[in-house]
């Protein structure tokens, strides 16, 4: 029997029992939609964590002096060669950010706090959270800007505000303490996370002048780190290898080594996504098999007659399977569409600010934005089709065992 005929038969069969098949369709669509939405939320969370970890001044790969990780200090700074950007040739780079990052004490008229003083080139900070911050007041103009920007929460703790002055105290490259006044150019809002309390930014040149080597004029400017953002995160190992050759005596590490916690949670999210999907399909499976068997049982007379008319067993088998696959496909398509629409409806993100401290500990931001990950959706569709196929085997086998005699006895 030609396949087209089988197909036509299957389709018409589907419409014979609109209510039952409709319900099944709905169930499948619901499962797929649910899977799509939860998947997109989890991916959103996972990539948000990745972004936060990477943007938290870590980047994908970092070059530092070898002692810096244990003892972050200006004494462990190094001079950056002028052509450093050519160090990575095989991998596409989004951006480089040279920085000075050292612990410092920051003082206002009434309070003092320990912070990380970060000297940056604001034009190069498109690779970190800095460029996406909202500022009250102004941000740093360029790397020569001698002003300072701090988090709004830090400003609150110091009882100061935009336009006022702070004194920063830190250890210079020669080990001596240095202090200097900085005017606050602006304050930034990072949803009251630790970022708001931990960092104070100033221009890189200004930081170099403040803490650098003053013994001679000819020393090249110092940095404590260079952070790199790659176009493709997966190529980080290649980038690390190339950088290690360019900077043989330095500590070159990727973000997973620098922030193992985030890396771990990232991997856990992957596992969780698949487990959840499998379980949901499991829940669907029972209803699916049930319905398919009932479908077959209802057609005992018809199938028996068809067999009597000479339809080979094989065709019956194929027909039942095709019918189930058709419903599955329809359900999958419907479900994915519904799921995608829901995700777009949630595109503004889910506001989690009620959980502020908790999400900070998990490394998330306050806005959970779902991310549609098409590879996952293809995977889900494929798995669902396989499920549909497997679920139809038992009913199909039952259908095959229907003899014309049985049909006529009904």
């Amino acid at each position: 029997m030609p396949f087209r005929l089988i197909l036509q038969l299957s389709v018409r069969n589907l419409f014979r029992y609109p209510r039952r098949n409709g319900l099944l369709l709905l169930a499948i669509a619901f499962a797929l939609a649910g899977a799509t939405v939860t998947n997109s939320l989890m991916r959103g969370w996972q990539y948000d964590m990745l972004d936060r970890a990477v943007e938290n001044l870590v980047g994908h790969v970092k070059v530092q002096a070898s002692e810096y990780r244990d003892d972050p200090n200006m004494a462990h700074s190094f001079a950056l060669p002028t052509n450093y950007e050519s160090s990575i040739s095989g991998v596409e780079v989004v951006g480089w950010a040279p920085r000075i990052k050292v612990p410092a004490v920051i003082l206002s008229e009434r309070q003092s706090r320990g912070v990380q003083l970060v000297g940056i080139d604001p034009t190069r900070e498109n690779i970190s959270f800095f460029s996406e911050l909202a500022f009250a007041g102004e941000t740093l103009a360029d790397m020569d800007d001698g002003r300072i920007v701090i988090g709004a929460e830090l400003a609150r703790q110091l009882q100061t505000a935009v336009g006022r002055k702070l004194v920063v105290l830190s250890q210079a490259a020669d080990g001596k303490n240095r202090e200097r006044g900085f005017r606050i150019a602006g304050t930034f809002d990072a949803d009251s996370t630790s970022l708001e309390k931990a960092f104070a930014f100033t221009g890189l040149t200004s930081a170099q002048a403040f803490l650098g080597d003053r013994s001679s004029d000819s020393t090249p400017p110092l940095v404590t780190e260079v952070s790199v953002l790659l176009a493709d995160e997966l190529r980080r190992k290649d980038a690390v290898a190339e950088l290690r050759m360019a900077f043989p005596d330095k500590d070159v590490a990727d973000w997973r080594a620098l922030q193992p916690q985030a890396a771990e949670m990232f991997a856990m999210a992957d596992a969780a996504i698949y487990v959840i999907f499998v379980l949901m399909m499991g829940g669907l499976a029972f209803g699916l098999v049930n319905t398919l068997i009932a479908a077959v049982m209802e057609r005992v007379r018809e199938l028996g007659m068809l067999r009597a008319l000479g339809m080979p067993r094989r065709v019956v088998l194929v027909q039942v399977v095709v019918e189930s696959m058709l419903i599955m496909c329809a359900g999958i398509v419907l479900g994915l569409i519904a799921g995608c629409i829901s995700v777009w409806a949630l595109a503004d993100g889910i506001d989690l600010t009620a959980f502020a401290e908790g999400i900070d500990a998990f490394g998330m931001s306050a806005l959970l934005i779902p991310v549609l990950h098409f590879e996952d959706l293809w995977l889900f569709s494929g798995l669902s089709l396989i499920l549909g196929f497997i679920a139809s085997i038992f009913p199909a086998l039952r259908a095959v065992r229907i003899t014309p005699l049985m049909a006529m006895n009904r």
Binding site: L279, G283, F286
Partner: protein, 410 residues
């Protein structure tokens, strides 16, 4: 009627079994997952609160924000005794003072905490994180954070001095020897904390029988909020009582977040299975329309027929729920003894430990599910109610059934 209902169920063995197992599957999954959650949330809270913060704390109200030496809770011994006599708890006194910690030439700022070592070690896990040496037992001995020891260049047995300002302006000076070194896994704690005997710190800083903190360790952590009222009666107006939820909001929020996201998953699963149930009853109606018509022609009222089917639905739901419950209970019982080892994460073990350490749950090595009314009752209840409702929904048409037309249905 009961016997009839039961027998009716078995008329279509396959369908009944499939639906029942579908219910069982969902019940098993959801109740097991809820037990796991309950168990691990419980453990997380226990681990977090028993680490350092305790289940509740009593402070002078302003001390919470200002951390000043003079903001003390007076008559600490009396209050401590009262609390311990009246309520099932242990009250641990603590004194906090900021000072310069110095060894030979090197000195850094640090927070000195005066504690009753024996009492604290018996209740809290922080003191189990001693990596070198032992818990101080004699006067003049201190416990120092690993990072602080490193920054001072100090080792076990070295002498250090602490210098600060006493309560009434006098100079506070202490000479201590390092009896133990602490590695909590949290850099911020290790870098700035050191512990010394309570009475010595009180004496050095010119404090009478007063403390900054009374850390309460309850027999049952959930009693924290319940006791607020009664403990409040013993306190002065300027003293505050805070529960662990206020002290460690990130733990509570993290749990809440996890709970909410799990609930979404549960609902999706339960809805999916309900589809299967609904489908079953749709088919039931369809198949037995003739039968119902006949029964009605014989004089049965519609509601009796509905009742009959409801009974069938009840048995179906019950069997499915019981199977699922029994399986899940067995698994939970087994695992609550053995536990699921966290080291199953393999290479991420160290990172996972760090992640947990960050949530102050450092002592969790295994995940244990726990029985609770909620975890065991929710899924069965929801599904059984759902089953009944599905049956009812489908059966409503029976009221309008015309026996004559029904009998004509094939």
């Amino acid at each position: 009627m009961i016997a009839l209902a039961w027998r009716n169920l078995w008329r279509n063995k396959t369908r009944t079994l499939l639906t029942a197992f579908g219910i069982a599957f969902a019940v098993f999954l959801v109740s097991f997952a809820m037990s796991m959650q309950g168990g691990s949330y419980d453990d997380m809270i226990k681990a977090a609160t028993r680490f350092y913060t305790g289940h509740a704390q009593i402070n002078q109200r302003d001390f919470v924000t200002d951390n000043k030496l003079e903001q003390t809770v007076p008559n600490a011994s009396a209050l401590r005794e009262q609390l311990q006599n009246r309520f099932p708890l242990v009250a641990l006194p603590r004194v906090q003072a900021f000072g310069i910690v110095s060894k030979d030439e090197r000195s850094i700022g640090g927070m000195l905490v005066g504690v009753d070592f024996m009492a604290e070690a018996a209740q809290l896990d922080l003191f189990k994180k001693i990596t070198a040496g032992a818990l101080p037992r004699s006067p003049g001995e201190a416990l120092v954070g690993a990072a602080m020891a490193r920054n001072l260049g100090a080792e076990l047995g070295d002498d250090i001095v602490i210098l600060g300002s006493g309560r009434r302006g006098g100079v506070a000076a202490m000479a201590l020897s390092i009896r133990g070194i602490l590695d909590t896994g949290q850099a911020e704690l290790d870098r700035s904390l050191l512990f010394a005997p309570l009475e010595e710190v009180q004496e050095a800083f010119d404090l009478d029988d007063e403390v900054h903190n009374l850390v309460l360790v309850l027999e049952d952590y959930s009693q924290g909020t319940v006791l607020a009222q009664s403990v409040g009666e013993l306190l002065e107006r300027d003293q505050s009582y805070r529960t662990w939820q206020q002290l460690l909001p990130e733990v509570e929020q993290g749990i809440e977040l996890d709970r909410v996201s799990a609930e979404i998953f549960y609902y999706i699963l339960l809805i999916l299975v309900s589809f299967a149930v609904l489908n079953t009853f749709v088919m039931v109606i369809f198949e037995r329309t003739r039968e119902f018509g006949m029964l009605m022609a014989l004089g049965l009222r519609p509601w009796q027929i509905i009742g009959q089917v409801q009974l069938e639905a009840f048995f179906l739901g019950l069997s499915g729920a019981l199977i699922g419950l029994v399986l899940s209970a067995a698994l939970v019982a087994y695992l609550s003894e053995v536990g699921i080892p966290l080291s199953a994460y393999g290479e991420g073990e160290a990172a996972a430990k760090q992640a947990f350490a960050k949530l102050q749950a450092g002592s969790i090595t295994h995940l244990y599910p726990a029985f609770s009314v909620a975890s065991m009752a929710t899924a069965p209840l929801v599904l059984m109610v759902g089953t009944q409702l599905s049956a009812l929904f489908c059966m409503l048409r029976v009221r309008r059934l015309n026996p004559v037309t029904a009998l004509r249905v094939e």
